[in-house]
């Protein structure tokens, strides 16, 4: 089935080839492979960008194809990051604690070990007890399961309540924003159990690989991100092709008509919303070990709005558009805000891009919406003629 699907979808093949080429170039040019043409920090940036592309593809499916303007998908991204971060932090702290306790003559009791790890991790928020949500933090497989289950479960419950009540359009967008805001405000509290505004840090150090250089670790994460993007892209391209795609696009264009055809629209929305939330969680779980730190500010409502902006600029309703939008805008954003762009001296005023980048982004968003509603991806329509 997948084979036939790849044959009939040229854009998927082109995308996979482009992704493979890009990945190979970066991998062979990286410091880990000895060439040293691509610095480790650049490998990390590109790897993180691939994760952002993956969540953008998910956003495109939920918004561009199904017409649900979710402004909360970054919450699922953040939850994925937190879930994997908890294990990273716990296992690394455990390693440190164990080696320092080894010096003692009497072997430490499990309670002592747990206490020592707890005060290491939660000292910053004035506590040493493990909150309930850390119950599985000692186990990597369980925490990886959480990466998928927690966003999926949250999306399932939220979506069920919202879609069942037939909340649509801008009201749904507001609800998703409220969900994101509530989550980030909750995480900002010290007694949330996730270290409040300190967040989780040191995530770039992978327990068990203390001797491995960051160059190698970053390359592995880069490759994993590329693989995740490739698989996620094929999965979503398969979902939106065929009859499922017909129904999902039908819901976007005329929900009532789909209902009268006998399809339970709520079930379809819930499926798309939950599936994209799960993929967002996976993207987050790959992103934050490369970023090294996660804190509640990452989940702030504005992040999910940026996500919608990327997809709109890249082009809604085409998956490669979302990838282009996310890659271009997020890379440009870090170039402009990171001081990469030279200031423009107008004589009477000096344009500093760290301040003016948001204005530029806002303007380009308005221009794209007004003049190029198909986004950057729409340019491909001029190059490639549609097979009839």
């Amino acid at each position: 089935m997948t084979q036939g699907f790849l044959v009939t979808n040229r854009s998927v093949r082109w995308f996979l080839m482009a992704l493979a080429l890009f990945t190979a170039v970066v991998a062979f040019g990286s410091e880990a492979s000895g060439a040293g043409l691509v610095s480790t920090s650049l490998v990390k940036t590109l790897g993180k960008t691939l994760c952002l592309c993956l969540i953008a593809v998910a956003m495109d499916v939920v918004w561009g194809y199904c017409g649900i303007l979710s402004l909360g998908h970054f919450a699922f991204f953040g939850i994925g990051g937190y879930a994997v971060g908890m294990w990273l932090m716990y296992a690394r702290t455990e390693g440190i604690v164990m080696s320092s306790l080894q010096a003692q003559t009497i072997p430490p009791t499990p309670a002592e070990v747990s206490d020592a790890i707890g005060s290491q991790i939660f000292g910053v928020v004035g506590s040493s007890d493990f909150p309930m949500i850390w119950a599985f933090a000692h186990s990597l497989p369980l925490q990886l399961l959480m990466v998928v289950l927690v966003p999926g479960f949250l999306a399932l419950i939220f979506g069920w309540l919202a879609f069942r009540s037939r909340v649509t359009g801008v009201y749904l967008s507001i609800l998703t924003q409220a969900m994101t805001l509530a989550l980030s405000l909750y995480l900002f509290q010290n007694d949330s159990g996730l270290r409040g505004n300190n967040g989780l840090s040191g995530l770039q150090n992978i327990p068990g690989f203390e001797q491995t250089s960051q160059a190698t670790i970053s390359l592995v994460f880069f490759l994993a991100s590329a693989l995740a993007l490739g698989l996620g892209y094929v999965l979503f391209a398969w979902v939106v092709a065929g009859k499922m795609g017909s129904v999902v696009k039908g819901i976007r264009d005329n929900e009532a008509r789909v209902r009268f055809l006998g399809y339970r629209v709520e079930g379809y929305k819930l499926f798309v919303f939950t599936l994209t939330a799960v993929v967002s969680g996976i993207a987050g779980a790959l992103y934050y070990p490369q970023a090294g730190i996660i804190n509640p500010a990452e989940i702030a409502p504005i992040a999910s709005i940026y996500l919608a902006v990327w997809v709109a600029i890249g082009g809604r309703g085409r998956l490669y558009g979302a990838v282009i939008g996310a890659a271009l805008v997020s890379l440009l954003s870090s170039w402009f805000t990171g001081g990469g762009a030279p200031d423009v001296n107008l004589g009477f005023y000096r344009i500093q891009w760290t301040d003016w980048w948001l204005v530029l982004l806002g303007l380009s968003f308005v221009c794209v919406t007004l003049f190029f509603p198909k986004g950057i991806g729409g340019l491909f329509d001029y190059i490639v003629r549609k097979p009839s």
Partner: protein, 249 residues
């Protein structure tokens, strides 16, 4: 002939306006029925109630041999019982091809996972060809629905109804905005469909109703004013007074 749909004693009030007032209509299978009436007579509300879009304040809507109540079912559940609805404005999925539009309507399992793993069958393809021939769009299957003419969109929507293979078709003003020739073709499609199923046509246009040559129900202020052949109802002094007299004057 047995009763397929029985609407009895139904009333519906919107913000104090009585859209439907103690309405009772019985539809048999097979049957072709025209429902006429001036604007605000409650024709569309009647369809909304039968298809589950609107819940009535009082009354019963009973379906099929087993006399099931349709009240409390969702739109999708009612559609799957075998009631298809065509809207006044042609509503086809303009971004998708004629074939995709018909394929979506074809009678198949409707759950998300069944649809996700759905594979095209020869049987389904043959059925699509058959329906396309019936509605005269055989050579348009690969075209995007948005490119079709107004009349073709109306036919496509009727075709989507047929693809659902319903026992009852509710058709809202199928001839609106059509040329004389297109109307004739539409009449033919509807009359053929009514040979095996129940077809209810809501229409303004008397000429079109005359061509359908079927039993007519006249609605007025949410109530059945008269019922019978077109000649019978148009001779009714009350009908002339509230509807024909006004619109033809």
């Amino acid at each position: 002939m047995s009763s397929l749909l029985e609407v009895s004693g139904v009333s519906k009030t919107f913000d104090g306006f009585r859209a439907i007032n103690d309405l009772s209509i019985q539809i048999n299978e097979p049957e072709l029925r025209a429902i006429i009436g001036p604007n605000g007579a409650g024709k569309t509300t009647f369809m909304d109630i039968v298809t589950g879009k609107t819940k009535p304040d009082v009354g019963r809507v009973v379906w099929g041999e087993r006399n099931e109540s349709l009240l409390g079912l969702s739109e999708a559940e009612i559609a799957n019982k075998g009631i298809g609805r065509k809207f006044q404005k042609p509503t086809v999925f303009e971004d998708q091809t004629v074939r995709q539009n018909l394929a979506m309507a074809l009678k198949n399992p409707r759950g998300p996972f069944a649809v996700l793993f759905h594979r095209k069958t020869e049987e389904g393809a043959a059925r699509i060809e058959e329906i396309a021939a019936e509605i005269g769009l055989s050579d348009q299957l690969t075209r995007t629905a948005g490119e079709l003419s107004h009349g073709q969109k109306q036919w496509l929507e009727i075709g989507m109804l047929l693809a659902q293979d319903p026992r009852l078709l509710l058709v809202d003003e199928p001839a609106a905005g059509m040329t004389a020739e297109e109307r004739e073709k539409t009449t033919d499609i509807l009359r053929r469909a009514a040979q095996t199923r129940a077809v209810v046509v809501v229409e303004h246009d008397m000429e079109f109703v005359r061509r359908l040559d079927c039993k007519v129900t006249v609605l007025h202020e949410g109530h059945v004013l008269a019922e019978g052949s077109l000649d019978h109802v148009t001779a009714d002094p009350m009908v002339i007074d509230v509807y024909l007299g006004r619109s033809d004057a």
